[in-house]
Symmetry: C3
Subunit: 118 residues, 3 copies
């Protein structure tokens, strides 16, 4: 029997894989493929992270690291404006942000999260 827990396991990937108290989320992207601004897309991605962390027995206060990929690095200020309101005060995670082309041309942001369970 596996001591790995997984969430929403499909034929290709799981939304979360949990081992030894550490939660690894799949890269979260906007669900809507209509073109939105970076602020709306960031809010949507962060809401997905909140939801998956809750289902994993974790929360944004327990994030260890985020790797953020932006389609256009000039969106950093817009992304940060939403991030700064969302992030857990006094419990900000380690973070890195680089530019990368994502699979759907409408997506402006993807975030990969590692967190600790409660």
């Amino acid at each position: 029997m596996s001591n790995i827990q997984r969430l929403n396991t499909g034929v290709r990937l799981s939304d979360a894989s949990i081992y030894n108290g550490t939660v690894y989320l799949a890269g979260q992207v906007p669900r809507q493929t209509t073109e939105q601004g970076i602020e709306a897309q960031t809010a949507e991605v962060l809401a997905s992270i909140d939801k998956l962390l809750a289902e994993s027995g974790s929360s944004k206060e327990r994030i260890l690291s985020c790797q953020i990929f932006l389609k256009d690095i000039s969106d950093l200020a817009g992304m940060n404006s939403v991030w700064d309101e969302w992030v857990a005060k006094g419990q900000c995670p380690s973070r890195a942000t680089v530019q990368a082309t994502l699979n759907n041309p409408a997506w402006r942001i993807e975030i990969v999260t590692v967190a600790a369970q409660n």
Copy 2:
């Protein structure tokens, strides 16, 4: 004495670093530098991951997360066709895929893997 185990430690990097039951693999790329299609390169990279995980006391059923870098994001469907056949049914890892230029122009894919030991 270190409680970190490493595989194939050279002067620059190790192919695997293992600590506290968690296996961190180096980014795996195709060995052949002749231009191959994405399917052949993906198969080669996944075979390298299988081999290193076996040597690390792990296996594809125990992968926690994969970060996939594609030279051309339009290769995603071709990569997925090989991935979907390979991935452990019911034990798919968390995953993120973005486009990135790799060191060798002939390489179309690089995968960074984190897994749990058995």
Copy 3:
């Protein structure tokens, strides 16, 4: 009370997040935004990593993985020349290097590090 330790927690991110003996550093970039060569920028980034690892109760001998982002992948040889002198002999980490555009046009390198505490 949290069992996560963090270093230099600001309003946006922490420089290090530590849980269960594992240290996650924020992406380290050169501090100087004047244009420097890749060798000088790599040395500066590696010194930042040394400092943060020391403050986290770790060291370069205990690095598990590094994800290296280069603004221009053709800087790989120059980066490696500094890396090879710096890296802990016999304790090289797992590593992956890809090209990515970074936030500041003057930055040629960013490194994301995961390490084990002593």
